[in-house]
């Protein structure tokens, strides 16, 4: 079975934030929650790089490991999803997540952060049938069920953000690095998958 991953080629990302917008639109993400965001390091300085980051759908996902109510599950594509009916909004997954992916509809918790929301790799969630309005309202689009990849990567104008089977996108990245002679690395891969792409 394919092992789905994201890869952001930071040497190509132009920080246009189109992936962020695409995600918001495809999933009707509520105000205040950003399932994907673009972080620019060394902004305005030498060595500036922008990286588009969302949930990396980690191996042995830290969020799933610390969740006190065990509400996460992994799909056959190795996508990490969770069940909002079970979530108690404790915020622990955010502490454990290396990529700051989990978010909450309320800023203070006071016991009421609300249900956690995060990137679903456009795979919907455990509600209703695949692609049903009920699923969409709670978890967002289920493009994977339609055989499509996440919209953020699909419409990235520089093809910096890649989504797909881990081995295939790693291969694409390797070829790029070989051709252009440099590459800042597969951001987050070491932390998420305990491997990086060595070129």
């Amino acid at each position: 079975m394919a092992r789905m991953k994201f890869l952001c080629d930071a040497d190509r990302c132009i920080e246009c934030n189109a992936c962020v917008t695409a995600c918001k639109n495809a999933n009707e993400v509520p105000w205040g929650i950003n399932r994907r965001r673009v972080v620019t390091i060394n902004d305005g300085k030498p060595g500036e790089r922008s990286v588009s980051m969302a949930c990396m759908h980690c191996n042995d996902a830290p969020c799933a490991a610390v969740c006190p109510v065990d509400c996460f599950y992994t799909t056959a594509d190795a996508v990490v999803l969770h069940n909002k009916d079970l979530c108690i909004g404790c915020g622990y997954c955010f502490y454990a997540c290396p990529f700051g992916a989990p978010q909450y509809p309320k800023l203070g918790n006071f016991g009421s952060r609300g249900k956690m929301d995060k990137c679903t790799y456009c795979s919907g969630g455990p509600e209703g049938a695949d692609g049903s309005p009920a699923e969409f309202a709670r978890y967002g689009a289920n493009r994977m069920a339609e055989g499509k990849l996440p919209l953020c990567a699909e419409m990235c104008s520089t093809k910096s953000l890649l989504a797909g089977d881990g081995e295939i996108i790693a291969q694409i990245y390797k070829e790029r690095v070989l051709k252009r002679g440099y590459g800042s690395g597969s951001w987050g891969w070491q932390t998420a998958y305990q491997e990086s792409i060595n070129v």
């Binding site: 030498p46 990286v51 490991a65 203070g108 006071f110 800042s184 070129v199």
Partner: protein, 339 residues
């Protein structure tokens, strides 16, 4: 042709290409004629290479600029999240088991060996007022909310391992939601109780020479002597300070957790969590001992919190100096009979 060989070739080619690139960067700092030479710092802005792994080696967590106001999103990678995860799935569970099950086992052994510590010659008829209504109220306010905080706190740590298999996902999630609400909101009565106990009982809990003697004699637990003591003996003073300092630490770290990211960042939140859980578990171990000796462990001790009046014989045994003072104060040589 195996794909492995292909990968090998690509890797080799990559290493070669990279080394060539590095070499060219070294030997040709400004290779393009017409462009200004590298600035005096040696930095050529066209050629600054960035490597995630190298940055992570230097900085532990990577932070940058974002165009959304949610400052938490500016942290790009914080691998420490994985260590936090490892701690929660390993050591924390063992510490929990040691503090709760280990302490219960110790108390059981103690009870088996020593049994209930009796009042010599049985209860008498005379009693003495040990704790007034307000003292009992604030003690129970703290104790009741503490019990719920401890249970709901332990649920967050170990409920998934212990209760989830028994209850099933839905029931356990519902229970945990309520446990979480109770933990968050009953924290405030608990804090109030801690503050009250601190203010009211502080003057009785300043350590002094009598306590040193009390500890030297093993607090009366070893052998059958009863060292003299005032209102609170050395052991009780230790309990007082564990409650005040532990409760204080739990308040500070607990409020930081309840108002996430108001005062600190992700690292601070993780540390607050570590500290809160650690202090809570130590306090649970200590309080199990305190509950034991205040109930089944010692005849007559519970009366002090039941209606405030203790058996005079008990008071003379365990708090001789205090009992003498109280009797002298009231001039009461024939104290009230037990109800």
């Amino acid at each position: 042709m195996s794909s492995l060989a292909l990968v090998k070739r690509i890797v080799l080619a990559g290493v070669f290409a990279l080394s060539m690139h590095a070499a060219s960067a070294q030997t040709l700092p400004d290779d393009s004629a017409g462009r200004p030479a590298a600035p005096a710092t040696g930095l050529n802005t066209d050629k600054v290479e960035v490597h995630e792994q190298q940055l992570l080696g230097e900085m532990r967590k990577l932070q940058g600029f974002i165009t959304i106001p949610d400052t938490r999103a500016a942290t790009l990678v914080q691998p420490d999240g994985r260590s936090w995860r490892d701690y929660r799935r390993g050591p924390l569970l063992w510490i929990t088991a040691a503090c709760v099950l280990g302490m219960l086992a110790l108390l059981l052994v103690f009870y088996a060996v020593k049994g209930e510590i009796k009042i010599a010659g049985g209860r008498g008829t005379a009693t003495l007022l040990r704790f007034g209504a307000f003292e009992r109220f604030m003690h129970w306010l703290t104790a009741a909310s503490w019990c719920i905080l401890a249970i709901s706190g332990l649920n967050v740590v170990a409920g998934r391992a212990v209760l989830l298999p028994l209850m099933g996902n839905d029931a356990f999630s519902l229970f945990s939601t309520w446990a979480k609400y109770s933990h968050n909101f009953l924290a405030f009565p608990f804090i109030a109780g801690i503050v009250l106990m601190f203010l009211v009982w502080l003057r009785h809990n300043i350590p002094n020479k009598i306590d040193v003697e009390w500890f030297k004699q093993g607090g009366g637990f070893i052998g059958n002597k009863h060292p003299p003591s005032e209102k609170f003996n050395g052991g009780q003073k230790v309990v007082f300070w564990i409650v005040v300092l532990g409760g204080g630490a739990l308040t500070v770290t607990g409020l930081a957790l309840m108002f996430p990211f108001y005062v600190t960042d992700i690292t601070g939140m993780q540390l607050a969590q570590l500290a809160h859980g650690g202090v809570a578990l130590l306090m649970i171990a200590a309080m199990l001992g305190h509950i034991y000796i205040g109930s089944v462990g010692m005849e007559g001790a519970f009366d002090a919190m039941k209606d405030g009046r203790v058996d005079l014989k008990w008071a003379r045994e365990h708090h001789s100096l205090w009992a003498a003072k109280e009797l002298a104060k009231s001039g009461d040589t024939s104290p009230h009979p037990a109800e």
